[in-house]
Symmetry: C2
Subunit: 453 residues, 2 copies
């Protein structure tokens, strides 16, 4: 164990390929189904909205997928991302555990999302796509795709849930700085948007509606495709550069994690850090515990059902097998907007079902308290989403303290909170509350899961 | 010239000493004077508000000042800061010039300010100081001192100009996240504050008033000292780690700058990057051009007078010889709050007077346009202050293009703009205007400079 606190991988050691866990799963992933036929989806079903290269990655079982040189070239603007030993946090907790974190907030948009936004923009540009449409809630994904679009000369249209559009003008300003167009959803630009506005002119919007608008735009314009920032296999694939780098950096630190922790919303930053370690557990006798942390207010992995369900509220997407709270379930508003999703990446759900990871849920006030402990020790102000991973890591560190064990903990700090300071303001003003979900509504939503006969 | 775009200095090569330009100046710096006696200031005059170690550094002519190990240990959280080749910006401009920038926005508080906040907090802690008081305008300095205080267990009280306190709640939230107390100034906590409020209960405050409040608190409480984030010699000293790192990193890149560019408000980030290059010009036959860039709305170096003046509006500080617009001059409100200062670091002014640097002024809209060109090419959204350095660098790159010269340009990107997105929102909404200063008011302010007989 060296004395350093910060481990930068030399640029020439940056991974040149993404890792695909599908190649090493002991049981294959259940396929996505066409909602009309109930039959497995083929590449042609996705062609209207995704470029061929992305569809191929969504369905491949190749173990390693080469990262194209122009994508590596953009990654080099901020990657390899640092691995940091949280010595001051260890001291503040009085734990014998060693705590490391991988810091993805160094990307220009401030989170792990550009890891997939950049290749998605690149593949679309290669296939002559002029414009990408997408949705965003809190804005992390929208700003990441806007950034990627600016580098590859692709126009980006972001349908931003109206309540966030109004509440988070600075995320919008960030997207516009990168040259993207940001539209409050529901909008009058699409049939889906107009239908909602006809019923309720004052609709605040929802992620489900924004997805419908973005997909509709992609499906109806020849020069436009759609991009998604989490959940899908190709997104998890692109994020594995996080774990591949972390593994090399932990070696530089003469350490190996006993437990790996990441937060889960759609599942992509968790997949990014955890999948390479899960491979080692499956193939090479690794014994690393893998812990997913989710909000207690949207407890997909801990309270959801593992079943085929729609990815969106409007039921425009294929059916995928995943842990779900039901596509009609509306999680209470929380500041971790990036974790407010009724479903979970099918690959992450599968891994959970196979017993290859654990899951825990924490309430938002205890996550903010953890975030503040972290910020005062290490200086970095975390995103509300990432604070869940911090809370999970601190719990493990305190367990080590109670048990007198010097274990090594590695967590993913998926992003900074510079655009989320309203949440901190609310916390200090005592206006931030824990938000229990509606148990009856969850029961109803689960009872409405699609019946596949 | 390598193909890399990002140059990380290995941690073990991080400089272990700050560089003091005072040791190499061809003409000594005019001393600060006591306003009552007109005599040079002694260490005792500063003892009520600064710790001994800081006073010694303010007055030393030693060439190198060792950085204490506990300070190095905190610096390692983010330093060495990266040097980046802006290849995409070069391409966007179509210039044969090579453009490099040193990026100080990787610090936890997001700018170069922690480079001096950390040693100031450390030296105060060493001398048993329990509390630091300071002022802040836009909030960069206040949040940096709050961060440093949290690491060394020192309470921090920040008097924040009331209009900023109300307009920039997220900077305040950042300070509170680090555990600092943030007070709207003028406040009822000090005589200076109460006097102002008596005259005008709705006063919006000013940096001059906030300085008076912070200094009063330090001067009247035994356990409290004062900390300043720019202007003074010891602040410039602490910032030279920027230039010392950059010099080694430029070597890693097989390059050497023909021109070095930085923005100037109080002068500290400029001093940090430029002073080591000025040393090489003085001592080792270097021919690097050194360019300071300031706002046209607060043109201290380009339109100010080189004279003895007060550092604050309330005339509580010593008299220092500097370029000044007059201590009663009120620059128009602009988004580059960190550059709105009537004076300039005495050492920077001296360097300018000796012909060791040049100065240019740009209007804020052209600086924002430059910032957006930069963000779309390189991904990083700059602080409004730093956009002045970008504008300066782009002008040099376009000159190279016109002249067909492949010069090497190095500029300091002193911070990111994540907490300044209102400025970008205003820019895109067309609400951001150039703000000419009041020429008659400048004439008046200059006519009121102290008369030293």
């Amino acid at each position: 164990m060296t004395d350093s606190v910060k481990f930068f991988l030399p640029e020439e050691k940056m991974p040149k390929a993404w890792y695909n866990l599908a190649a090493d799963l002991p049981v294959p992933l259940p396929p996505p189904l066409h909602p009309a036929t109930g039959q497995p989806l083929g590449p042609d079903d996705l062609a209207p909205i995704f470029p061929q290269a992305v569809i191929a990655q969504e369905m491949t079982s190749e173990r390693w997928v080469d990262i194209p040189e122009p994508v590596l070239d953009v990654y080099r603007l901020w990657r390899p991302a640092p691995l940091i030993r949280a010595k001051r946090l260890e001291k503040a907790l009085g734990t014998p555990a060693k705590i490391f974190f991988k810091y993805e907030g160094v990307s220009p948009a401030g989170s792990h999302k550009p890891n997939t936004a950049v290749p998605q923009a690149f593949y679309n540009q290669q296939e002559g796509v002029k414009r990408l449409s997408t949705e965003t809630g809190a804005g992390q994904w929208g700003s990441s795709l806007a950034f990627a679009g600016s580098l590859f000369g692709i126009e980006v249209e972001v349908f931003m849930v109206k309540i966030s559009y109004n509440q988070k003008p600075y995320r919008r300003a960030l997207m516009e700085t990168y040259g993207a167009r940001c539209i409050a959803s529901p909008s009058t630009l699409t049939n889906s948007g107009r239908a909602i506005l006809e019923k309720d002119p004052n609709s605040n919007g929802s992620l489900g509606i924004a997805i419908s608008e973005a997909v509709e735009v992609a499906a109806t314009r020849d020069d436009t495709k759609y991009a998604l920032g989490s959940v899908l296999n190709h997104v998890c694939l692109h994020q594995t550069i996080i774990g591949e780098e972390a593994m090399m950096q932990m070696e530089m630190a003469d350490a190996a994690p006993d437990v790996v922790v990441a937060c889960t919303g759609g599942g992509s930053n968790f997949a990014g850090l955890a999948f390479p370690y899960i491979r080692e557990n499956i193939k090479n006798g690794g014994k690393t515990r893998i812990v997913a942390v989710e909000p207690a207010s949207c407890p997909t992995l801990t309270k959801g059902q593992y079943a085929y369900d729609f990815g969106d509220t409007g039921h425009l997407t294929p059916l995928v097998k995943m842990h779900t709270l039901g596509s009609t379930f509306m999680p209470p508003g929380s500041h971790a907007g990036g974790l407010r999703y009724h479903g979970m990446a099918p690959m992450v759900s599968h891994v959970k079902e196979l017993g290859l990871c654990e899951a825990r849920a924490f309430a938002q006030t205890e996550c903010f308290a953890a975030a503040i402990t972290f910020a005062r020790a290490e200086g970095i102000v975390p995103a509300p989403e990432s604070s869940h991973a911090i809370k999970g890591a601190i719990e493990e560190a305190l367990r080590c303290k109670a048990e007198g064990k010097a274990e090594t903990i590695l967590f993913n700090l998926s992003g900074h909170g510079h655009f989320d300071m309203q949440a901190y303001t609310d916390y200090f003003a005592g206006n931030l509350k824990d938000l229990p979900y509606d148990e009856a509504a969850l029961e109803t939503a689960l009872s409405e899961l699609p019946n596949l006969g």
